[in-house]
Each structure stands twice: as structure tokens, then as C-alpha cells.
């Protein structure tokens, strides 16, 4: 007389349903660990970048930034000007396209933030920022390379620029 707990079904080969449940139970920790691992990877690729205007001068400070390729970048731009009411923005362009984008921005409407619309040379851009304020933008870091960033307020792009170094 088998013990009550040992039912025939428990001693015989498991049913397909039970086999699937067992398999799933075995896989669950692995899957969770996998999720944690990938979450950790994603976490390590999140990058916070901070940049500012050089007070009331037409310059970014710093004018060089670095991040790793494919990182989810959260960039915050601070307009540290105190006297001049001009707006600034931060626009990341394709390599070699800074001048063309700055030129295109001249004809862009002010209500569009002096940003060329639907321009594939623009990789990321903040909205315009008033003095004493800050704005942000999220973007995925492009392929490794050196990418210029500029302020597209008319006339600023000629001098207010820098480089984002994207590393492998």
C-alpha cells in the first residue's frame, strides 16, 4: 500500500502538462536572472550628460562631451546667461554637417526653435532655452565617431559649437 502522497500519477511518467510546468519552473529563475542581467546592461549604458552656456558668451562649457555608442543619453543644457535675453539650444548633427544645419536654421521659423524640421542631419536637439533655465533631450548615442553640436539660434552656430565623442 503506497503512502497516500504517492499517487500513481506521481510515480509514473509526468503528464505533458506537468512536464511543461516543471520546465517552466526550472526556466523561471534563469529567465529572471537573464532579465536582471540585461537590465544591468541597459543600466550601464544610460549616460547623463550636462552642458551649459559660458555665461552670456557664445560658447558651450564644456565644448567636448564623451559617451559610449548606443547609450541612452539624457543630456541637460543649462543657459547660464544673466544679461542677454537671447535663447540657446543644443543640436547634435551628423559629422561635417554643422555648418549646413546652422545655415538651414537661419531660415527655420523662430516658433520651431530655430531648428530645421525633419532634417536627417540633425540627430538630437533640445528645445530653445531662456537664460537661467535648463532643457533636456534623450537620444541613443550614434555609431562611434566625432559629432559636432551647435546652437542653432541665428548666428550662434558659427562659434557656439563643440564635439560629442562617441566611443565604441
Amino acid at each position: 500500500m503506497p503512502p497516500p502522497s504517492c499517487t500513481p500519477s506521481s510515480t509514473t511518467a509526468p503528464s505533458p502538462l506537468r512536464r511543461r510546468l516543471t520546465f517552466a519552473a526550472l526556466l523561471l529563475p534563469t529567465a529572471l536572472l537573464g532579465d536582471l542581467a540585461s537590465a544591468s546592461t541597459a543600466q550601464s549604458k544610460r549616460v547623463q550628460l550636462t552642458i551649459a552656456s559660458d555665461g552670456d558668451l557664445l560658447a558651450f562649457k564644456p565644448d567636448h562631451l564623451t559617451c559610449v555608442t548606443k547609450a541612452l543619453v539624457h543630456l541637460t543644457f543649462y543657459h547660464t546667461g544673466k544679461y542677454i535675453s537671447q535663447q540657446h539650444n543644443w543640436v547634435l548633427t551628423m559629422p561635417g554637417a554643422a555648418d549646413a544645419v546652422a545655415q538651414a536654421a537661419m531660415t527655420a521659423d523662430e516658433k520651431n526653435g530655430w531648428r530645421p524640421q525633419s532634417d536627417r542631419r540633425v540627430l538630437a536637439a533640445t528645445p530653445p532655452c531662456d537664460k537661467g533655465q535648463h532643457v533636456s533631450v534623450d537620444f541613443i548615442a550614434p555609431a562611434p565617431g566625432d559629432y559636432p553640436f551647435i546652437c542653432t539660434t541665428p548666428g550662434h552656430g558659427a562659434v557656439m559649437r563643440g564635439i560629442l565623442h562617441v566611443t565604441p
Binding site: Y83, I84, P95, G96, P154, G162
Partner: protein
Amino acid sequence: MSATVNRSLALIAGATAGLFLAAAGHAAELKSPEMVKTGLRILASVYADMDRKLAADQFDRLPHENQEFQEGSGALRDAIANEPAGFKAQVQSSLASTLTAANQVAEVSKSHDKAKVQSALSALAVSMRSLNALFPESVRVEPGSVEAPHHPPGAGGPPKTS
């Protein structure tokens, strides 16, 4: 007669030297030299922007640059706020002339006459040099002296292949 002339010349030379030394002494004792330099730099920076706009025939943007010039002058006013009254009055008078010259650039820009605007811009540069001359050389930022862009035009180059 000759002795009188010589004495007068000596007095003038002495007074000039005294004024020069006093100015130099005061200049060396600016309360906020870095703020003064920043104030002059802001004006030179906007001047450079005006120059670029004129070179690109963007006459319509010049009134806006003038507005920035007027606003930016606040930095220099704040920088000299704690200076002796006499020196402050001297700077404020010179700054007022400079701001008038900047207004003139904006006014003339409405004509879209490049030669006239260039002339007004040159007059502004002269006025800015007079303003700079009130300060020691170490803090002066003359019009046209603001350095070129940090990076070559369209900087960036092709993406690296790795």
C-alpha cells in the same frame, strides 16, 4: 620767458605723468577685474556677431544684435558698481557713447546699405577701443580680438570605423 615755458612744460609733463600713474594705479586696483574682463568680452563677442551678420548681408538681424549689445552692457555696469564714483562716471559716460554707436548700427542697418553699416560698425569699434582704454591692459578685450571658433567649420569628420 624761456624759463616760464620750461616750467609750464614741466608742470604739464608732471601732471600728465601723475594722471597716467593714477590711472595705472587705479587700474591695477580694480575691485572686480575678472567681472570687468567678462563685461568687455561680452561686448566684443556681440560686436563679432554683428560683424559676421554684416559679412553675410543679414541686415535684418543687426537690430537684434544691438539689443544683445545693450543688454550685455549690464555686465560691465555691474562690474564697476563698486569702483570710485569718479572712475565709474568716466566709464559710464564712455559706455553710453558706445551704446549710442551700437544703436546707430541698428538704425543704419535698415537701409541695407553695406558700406553705411560697415562705417557705423567701424565707429562702434572706435568707441569700444576708447572704452577699453579706461581699463588696464590685462582686462581689455578689444573689438575684433575675440578668438575664432574652437573648431573648424563643420567639425566632426566622418564617423570612425571600428
